[in-house]
Amino acid sequence: MAAPLSVQVEFGGGAELLFDGVKKHQVTLPGQEEPWDIRNLLVWIKKNLLKERPELFIRGDSVRPGILVLINDADWELLVSTSGDSPPSTTPLTALEAGWGQAAPGRQDGSPLLPPFLLEVLGPQCLQQLALGK
């Protein structure tokens, strides 16, 4: 049984427009059988925070192309699991650590992600733009 978890969720780069324009959300995830991981956190956000057009947020069981997800300042693709073979998206948040690699001098591999968790969802305005007029 996973205890309730407090997470700060932020939207930017246009993703906030799917959430009534609100960028910062302080949420408490309820206690549940399964531990909280990125995948079920995204589903919870879709059910509880998303205001419109879910197809612009989620495709399959991940975010749709063009959206960047960050946890505690790191691209989620940098995260690695410390609990065996499970992929980072289905690893409990507390069992993730940042595999910074050589790209980040001064930061070492294996620094675990610690609460408070900050999850950020950046929309496709991140370095991309295009037009559909009004």
Binding site: P65, A103, A104, R107, P124, Q129, A131, K134
Partner: protein, 455 residues
């Protein structure tokens, strides 16, 4: 009497000079156009190495020369460096301005677009007098006034797959200052295929982002965004709005990264992304993923071995110009000319303006009812009440049994079609005919009322 005569003489002379002036302007415009044709892909030779700075150069660049990190060697590298600027808009203008001021050897300027009045609030190299001229010529002229030693090469054309590799390969560093997704993929792939570092930035509303791709083993654009976003999810500056200072800040940061690469200092944002929130006043840096071994462009077994058709890859066009939706049948739409006729005839109807409030504050037709599209989408109770009242009021002027038409209008005629679809889906409105006004208020401004504001 003498005074009157003098006035008449002067008036005649002024008229004659004005005639001469407009003739000169016509010749200038023709000459600029001819230049545009002849400057298609001018061949550029490599910049010769430079051994020493002249006395004038030492004075001119003295404030940056005394920085030990830059010094004479750094300045000499700048003087022999060439930078390709893709897009001479809100980012490209401040970027090119600072690169020219700092003494970069050659600037290639790429843009297919012409200067419009609505560009001037952020595209600071262009002036009022050059509205209608190609942006690259306007930018090059301003840059030459700023620093005549910098060689500016204008390319008044879009960057396209047939020319991109050749063009990108002639420059040392590339700055992506473009405004659309297909161009971002095109520039990225061209940089990966020719081995050029790419400094990329974007700005929209009050937010901006900056990163460096394909430098020193770091990720490329495709590593971070392997798939293009659905076309309908991306917003242009024309739609979303942008503050000129925000593009200015990002363009300057982009220039800084280009300068550091060109001077041999190395960039700060390879593999990381700078996020700027102008409204909250925050700068943040986040770690991006590393280069993906399976990346289609820069991976170990790349599938992108030549440039492709990026517009079809992204499902969108390589401009930030607006597309026209076709959601309705012709009989469900009315032209501005026909609507004007109907309005003049005094025929009872409701005109529904579905733009966001901030745009209605700019301009509106005085007899319109304003309900934002968003409220219609959510069946906002207050808005439904307003619409109901307007319909009841309108019906008082019609005969029993005759339906009251509703005409929906927006800025360009896309949102109005969506609104018609929504209203048609409401069964309680089935005694009404709903149409939208083709081309919206901008068509009204162009064809009916020249004094109506455009934006």
């Amino acid at each position: 009497m003498a005074a009157t005569e003098e006035v008449l003489t002067l008036q005649a002379e002024v008229a004659q000079r004005e005639e001469e002036l407009s003739s000169l302007k016509r010749r200038l415009a023709a000459a600029l156009l001819a230049e545009q044709e002849s400057e298609r892909l001018v061949p550029v030779s490599p910049l010769p190495p430079k051994a020493a700075l002249s006395r004038d150069e030492i004075l001119r660049y003295s404030r940056q020369l005394v920085l030990p990190e830059l010094g004479v060697q750094g300045q000499l590298r700048l003087a022999t460096a060439s930078v390709l600027v893709v897009g001479c808009g809100g980012l490209g203008c401040p970027l090119a301005q600072y690169l020219a001021a700092a003494g970069v050897g050659r600037l290639g300027l790429v843009d297919y677009d012409v200067v419009e009045v609505s560009n001037l609030a952020r595209q600071v190299l262009h002036g009022e007098a050059l509205a209608g001229q190609a942006k690259v010529f306007s930018a090059a002229a301003t840059l030459r006034r700023l620093n005549s030693a910098v060689e500016c090469v204008p390319y008044a054309q879009a960057l396209t797959p047939p020319t991109a590799l050749d063009l990108v390969g002639r420059y040392d560093v590339v700055a992506d200052c473009s405004d659309n997704v297909p161009t971002r993929y095109l520039v990225n792939d061209a940089c990966v295929l020719t081995g050029r570092p790419l400094v990329s930035a974007s700005a929209l509303r009050f937010e901006g982002q900056l990163t460096v791709y394909h430098y020193g083993g770091g990720p490329c654009y495709r590593c971070v965004f392997p798939q293009p976003p659905p076309a309908e999810t991306v917003t242009s500056c024309a739609d979303g709005g942008v503050l000129g200072v925000v593009t200015g800040v990002l363009g300057c940061l982009q220039a800084l990264e280009v300068l550091k690469i060109a001077a041999g200092l190395g960039p700060s944002y390879s593999g990381s992304l700078l996020l700027f929130d102008a409204l909250g006043g925050h700068f943040r840096c986040i770690r991006l993923r590393r280069r993906r071994p399976d990346c289609a462009a820069c991976g170990e077994r790349p599938t992108v071995t030549d440039l492709q058709d990026y517009e079809s890859f992204c499902g969108s066009s390589a401009t930030d110009k607006c597309r026209s939706l076709q959601l309705l049948k012709p009989e469900e739409r009315i032209s501005v000319v026909d609507y004007k006729r109907l309005l003049d005839s005094g025929s009872p109807h409701v005109l529904l303006d579905v733009r966001p409030p901030v745009e209605v504050d700019l301009c509106r037709l005085p007899h319109s009812l304003h309900i934002p599209l968003k409220h219609l989408e959510r069946r906002n109770a207050e808005s439904l009440k307003l619409l109901g009242e307007a319909i009841r009021e309108g019906k008082q002027g019609t005969q029993e049994g005759v339906s009251l038409p509703i005409y929906v209008i927006c800025k360009l005629g896309n949102d109005s079609q969506k609104a018609v679809k929504i209203l048609q889906s409401w069964t309680d409105l089935d005694s009404l005919t709903v149409r939208d006004v083709v081309g919206g208020l901008m068509a009204w401004a162009a064809k009916i009322d020249g004094t109506f504001p455009r934006y």
